[in-house]
Subunit: 218 residues, 2 copies
DNA sequence: CTTTTTTTGTGAAAGGTTTCACAACTGGCA
DNA sequence: TGCCAGTTGTGAAACCTTTCACAAAAAAAG
């Protein structure tokens, strides 16, 4: 209806609402007010209402929002009302931790394939998935209809590998290598830099910032 | 540093500048212009100059910024010109990956202590550090002058543990449990939620968001 | 059925961040 | 020396996000 752009912060807050709604559902709430939702995620009621109103008005005045429907609606908006086929490249320390990260599976991210360039790792098993070699990459990504790639390789090889991945037509990549990767304009890339979060805390301690933030922007 | 508030985004960009400057130093650049710095991190020259001007003016008109000095200055601002004593609680999948994460050590985050509540893990060795039991927590954090805690425990036990940590006087916590933790106002808390990043990618794919600003004319 | 209470949805105001545009300064060169 | 090219530093403008405040709607109470 409108072509107002939805901000990154709004999308991240949807993830928070989804989490809160999951808890509310477990606690057998039928409806929830913007105030309650805001309290649970440390936001303001006005913000909750503004965010949700971007996608239509599914609350009831005087009552609040229906927990189950709202949760489903947000799942649909976020695209997690379905299963995504994910490949994970790099079965080192971080890579093998991510294979076992239950939160991914819980939200429909199904890690189907594992890759590594290390001959000693190829053929080994992680959570029932056999690690494949990088020469199989292109064919396997296509055959298994992979839509999303998680990159957990060393910074030094990340760009080369991401080029391959992009070549296979993958349009979404979550990168854990602490490096700025170049990808075409039509590929979605997010880089998770854990050292940067520690740097933020370090800055906060040193400068004794008068506030605390548990939320991220960019 | 007057009482102008520095935004979270600015601080994160400082981390990016730091990374770019590290590369520039390796490439033997003496000076760098805001334009070059901006290109390397996909920002605008104006933004680079605005960010840096928050902390004083250390560029030279007509020349640019001195690479080495600027890098040192940013390190000082971020508080990474020193070593931080870090404790890591939870030596499961993510925890053990983080112990070996070289980027932490490289930026002065020294993981000194490991904790776990699992009897089978207590006493075991990770990268030369012996895993301690949780009953030792309070004493050990104090004795080892720990300033920063990384939490990599299951969501179900995270709040109880964070309460202990806060009790020990720790003022900065990096949390990997996918849950909203309550801490006093004077404690800095950051929560790293990897599933949320995948959700953002999922949203982008489903809604085919226009990403990446097309910059720039001239 | 009428009144009171609750809570949404949303324009408008406030607040914050990024970009623009240009004066001011520097180094190099003739 | 004077001039040109390059680049910073920074108010002002443009843009974006959050908060405010209240009418409208629905439920609950009497």
């Amino acid at each position: 209806m409108r072509d107002r752009r939805i901000s990154e912060s709004t999308i991240h807050r949807l993830s928070h609402y989804y989490r809160a709604l999951t808890a509310l559902e477990r606690e057998h709430f039928d409806t929830v007010s913007s105030r309650e939702l805001a309290n649970r995620e440390e936001l303001t009621p006005a913000q909750v209402r503004k965010d949700l109103s971007f996608f239509g008005s599914f609350g009831t005045r005087g009552l609040g929002y229906p927990v189950k429907e709202l949760k489903e609606k947000i799942a649909r908006i976020l695209g997690i009302d379905r299963v995504w086929n994910v490949a994970l490249i790099g079965v080192g320390n971080i890579g093998s931790a991510l294979v076992s990260y239950k939160e991914f599976a819980r939200q429909g991210f199904n890690i189907k394939l594992l890759f590594d360039s290390d001959q000693r790792k190829i053929g080994s098993n992680h959570k029932g998935i056999t690690v494949l070699g990088m020469d199989d990459l292109e064919r396997q990504l296509n055959e298994n209809k992979i839509e999303l790639v998680i990159l957990a390789v060393p910074a030094s090889s990340a760009q080369v590998i991401v080029d391959h991945v992009v070549n296979c037509g993958i349009k979404a990549i979550l990168n854990f290598a602490p490096i700025k990767l170049a990808v075409p304009d039509d590929v979605f890339l997010r880089t998770e830099n854990m050292a940067m979060e520690l740097e933020y805390l370090s800055f906060s301690l040193v400068n004794n910032l008068p506030r605390r933030s548990d939320r991220k922007k960019t």
